[in-house]
Amino acid sequence: MHELSLSSAIVETVVRHADGHRVTSVNLRIGTLRQVVPASLEFYFDVVSRETVCEGARLDYELVPARVGCSHCGNEWQLEVPLFVCPECAGSDVRVVGGDEFEIDSIVIEEEEACTAPT
């Protein structure tokens, strides 16, 4: 899925938070329900981050498994196949409780040591 525009969005957000400092890593949380291909994202991130403070930064990601909860019996389960019916009570009033994230959790930046010695 259009990882180029997603990478651009990531670089834009990270540059804003980096406040001029060089970024060494960007930590993402990617839910497995989102249609993102991490390898493509890494490739395009390398391209889009050139000549920004993100250039050379490592893209780390945590893949969040899809979890679904049944509103009827309270059962929660990890979704292996896209069947949104409760395996316990066959209820169909289910909601996604995890696996639809696609967020920048944090970044690591390099900062100059503060100079405290009097000149």
């Binding site: 899925m1 259009h2 525009s5 997603l6 969005a9 990531i10 834009e12 957000t13 990270v14 938070h17 980096a18 400092h21 060494t24 993402l28 329900l33 989102r34 249609q35 196949v81 896209p82 069947l83 949104f84 019916v85 169909s92 009033d93 289910v94 994230e101 696609f102 967020e103 920048i104 959790d105 944090s106 970044i107 690591v108 930046i109 390099e110 900062e111 100059e112 040591e113």
Partner: protein
């Protein structure tokens, strides 16, 4: 030099969501209900619109057409004397495979919103990306044609779950296909239990009344989420 950890906690698509919210506010200020119509390429979105828009009593409807290139679909809608704006994602937007909130926002000034009750945004034909990008719509509908295979819902669960209404199109072709309609319907139900479904043929007109009623209901502020399934005259289609 030392390294500092900075918490960000921002969704990657937050910027799009913000613009979508601004679009939605503009639509609501003008009293316009907006439908985002999606499907794979060639499923029949434009033809279904042509059928429904001919007769929407009491509703002033406009269309926002999204395609990578050409104004072919926009021209078809324009010939119905329905206000239509064509967005091409190719020039200026890099040939995106979906409409996003920014593209829709760029088209808003060209739409006569104050003269509309209902706006249908016909998205770029694509079962993957449009489901990820809100554009400011109130409801979403999708078209799934019987020529696409019974497994589509299992392969594209996000799209089927993102939509409030599914139009199963081209049922006039059923006698000529080795297609298991009940399996498709079961797969849709498994992926999105209770979603509204209509069996339709833009060619013969079957199911078009139900599709039209859904649009009228949406325009009147009623969203059809009750899971009511409307099976068209399937017996006739199968003979």
């Amino acid at each position: 030099m030392h390294r500092t950890y900075v918490k960000v906690l921002e969704g990657v698509l937050d910027a799009n969501a913000t613009i979508a919210e601004a679009n939605r506010e503009d639509f609501e200020r003008a009293g316009v209900t907006v439908v985002n119509l999606m499907s794979a390429p060639g499923a029949g979105k434009t033809t279904l619109l042509e059928r429904a828009l001919r007769d929407l009593p009491g509703v002033r409807v406009g269309v926002l057409e999204g395609d990578v290139s050409t104004s072919l679909d926009g021209d078809r809608i324009a010939s119905l004397h329905v206000p239509v704006v064509q967005i091409n994602t190719e020039p200026g937007f890099g040939g995106e495979c979906h409409l996003d909130a920014n593209m829709v926002r760029s088209a808003i000034p060209s739409l006569p919103l104050d003269e509309l009750d209902l706006l249908v945004i016909e998205n770029v034909g694509n079962l993957v990306c449009p489901a990820e990008f809100r554009v400011g719509e109130h409801v979403r509908a999708m078209v799934c044609s019987v020529t696409e295979g019974e497994d589509k819902p299992l392969k594209y669960p996000l799209m089927f779950r993102a939509c409030d209404f599914v139009i199963v199109n081209k049922i006039d072709l059923l006698p000529h296909l080795d297609f298991d309609l009940e399996r498709l319907l079961a797969n849709i139900e498994a992926v999105h239990p209770g979603v509204g479904i209509v069996l339709a043929s833009a060619k013969t007109g079957e199911g078009i009344d139900t599709w039209r009623d859904w649009l009228l209901g949406v325009s009147a502020g009623r969203v059809w989420r009750d899971g009511a399934r409307h099976v068209g005259a399937m017996g006739a289609a199968m003979q």
